[in-house]
Symmetry: C2
Subunit: 190 residues, 2 copies
DNA sequence: AACGATACGGAGCAATGTTCCGGTTAGCAA
DNA sequence: TTGCTAACCGGAACATTGCTCCGTATCGTT
């Protein structure tokens, strides 16, 4: 998975340096203030100007994608692994959902950004879904095939439901998205 | 429930007229563009200035509350009625949740505004919860007492979960919040 | 008819995402 | 080493949006 090492046109050294600074700064700011942090804050943290951010990442969403890409990959790759190692497909599905929830809950406000109508976040929404829906579909199909769950739900619906349940996690200690998600997954059983 | 007719200090005629115009305009704009419509649009639709809106409704949330108040009341009042007329408490709970979902889904973007961290919408959030959580609690308690559902979930959690599931309804025909909510409610069963 | 309290309208402020452009510099060629 | 140009940089400027302020117009009373 060579990211972009020996590509068509080697970037200039300063460009490469700034891109890394930006990614690090964005990660730090996201942790501190959530993914809704103003672009200016990220630019300041990285010690670069606004223009530099938007040249490297045409839109906020692209920056977010870049920052979380490897975590999304890890989540995607966990799917088949769980299917192979779990006692039943349903157990694998439940475990995977749990991983997915952990990912969403860990990042302030990331879940909210999965909304398809979040203007400007189309790219992010598309990326997440393109990468994870197939994984979830496979888990879901397996669990349906084993007769453990009902068959009238698509992976997209399930993931979106789970994503929605995770919105606002952490802002209110009385609301624990994990419990609600567990309920949802329990409701899936035949 | 005389709204504010013969109150401490009779408002001026133009003030009363404008308040009504504002409510009508807001309702129309909310239907057309969702509750996130710019305040300026509402002012324009009502044919008044920005100042007028903010004098009558100190904050966007207050305007939204005013527009939807009677529907929230209807929802609140349906709770005890359903409890009395349904076969079992669980059936009453399910029916009430369904009414609640209908309410949220009908209004573009209303669900998203139930988030406690939605800066500026504290009032709206508080109003909704103050009015509806007690109703939901009673339904939940009754269903727990009849042994139909588990007892480790608060009304707040359930309502927030349902509210979250309804976020973005209508923006994607492949996502039907009602089905997810049904799943959630099904997961409640013992 | 005059007057004071009340309401009105819209310019203006602050925050934020995004675009633009003049100045600077890395990397290559002679 | 020196010079050149394409790529890059920073931040000012623009557009949108929630909200505030204040001079002016209007209402209702005396």
């Amino acid at each position: 998975m060579g990211n972009d090492s020996g590509a068509v046109r080697p970037k200039r050294a300063d460009a490469r340096r700034n891109e890394k600074a930006l990614l690090d700064a964005a990660a730090a700011v996201f942790v501190a203030k959530g993914v809704d942090a103003p672009v200016r804050d990220i630019a300041a943290e990285a010690g670069v100007g606004m223009g530099t951010i938007y040249r490297h990442f045409p839109t906020r969403a692209d920056l977010i994608i870049a920052v979380f890409r490897h975590q999304v990959e890890a989540c995607a790759e966990a799917g088949p692994a769980l299917l192979a190692s779990s006692a039943t497909p349903y157990a694998a599905l439940a475990s995977w959902i749990s991983i997915f929830v952990d990912f969403l809950v860990t990042k302030h406000g990331l879940a909210a950004v999965l909304q398809p109508d979040n203007a400007g976040f189309d790219r992010l929404h598309t990326y997440f879904l393109d990468r994870l829906v197939p994984v979830c579909t496979r888990l879901l199909d397996a669990a349906v095939a084993s007769g453990e769950i009902r068959s009238d739900l698509t992976a997209l619906e399930l993931m979106r439901g789970v994503g929605n349940l995770c919105i606002g996690a952490g802002s209110d200690p009385r609301y624990d998205p994990r419990r609600l998600v567990d309920l949802l997954v329990a409701g899936l059983r035949t």
